[in-house]
Amino acid sequence: MPDSDSLRDEITREVAANTILVYGKGTKDAPRCGFTAETIQFFNQFGYPFEVIDVLENMPKRDALSQMTDWPTLPKVFIDGQFLGDTDILGPMAQKGELTTLLTQAFEKKGVKPSVVL
């Protein structure tokens, strides 16, 4: 059983390794929660790669995540290492154009361009 320090290290590594990272319930292909599915659809619009990590049945990791972010619910989204809540936060950011700016900057650093969508 990993202790909370090693869980925090694992989360820190995962956040660093993925420009867009979603901690959710279920996987990208088989989401097991409406809000996780909604978040996957949300990011599909942008054409950038994103990772979904299923923590549905990993309560210790969910607890560690909640403590690290001071945020009680899933999904939890990180972009470029920054915690950004869920689509209730990202939706308004997208409407104001802030999210596209953030994503463009984050992926430019890595030389990744969005695939064409629409």
């Binding site: 929660c33 409406g34 809000f35 001071d70 945020w71 009680p72 619910t73 915690f83 950004l84 809540g85 209730d88 936060i89 308004p92 950011m93």
Partner: protein, 78 residues
């Protein structure tokens, strides 16, 4: 489960000035869309605004009366 007035009461207990609109998303009284407008949000990031509402609803989420919620917060415009 919790009724809509119950949700409003929990939020107003922390933010007495809040305008709260609660919609039952599934008809099961535990999946809610909640819109909160309060001066208590002034100067706070959207993340912190949502944290304030989650805190007000903490007990009801912990004991399962609320299973899922989507949230929109704003500061009154005038």
């Amino acid at each position: 489960m919790i009724n809509r007035d119950g949700v409003v009461a929990l939020i107003r207990a922390q933010m007495p000035d809040a305008d709260v609109v609660v919609t039952d998303l599934t008809g099961t009284m535990d999946h809610y869309d909640i819109r909160v407008r309060s001066n208590a949000f002034a100067g706070k990031s959207l993340l912190d605004q949502h944290r304030m509402v989650y805190a007000a609803l903490e007990d009801a989420r912990q004991d399962g009366r609320i299973h899922a919620l989507q949230l929109k917060t704003e500061v009154p415009s005038a």
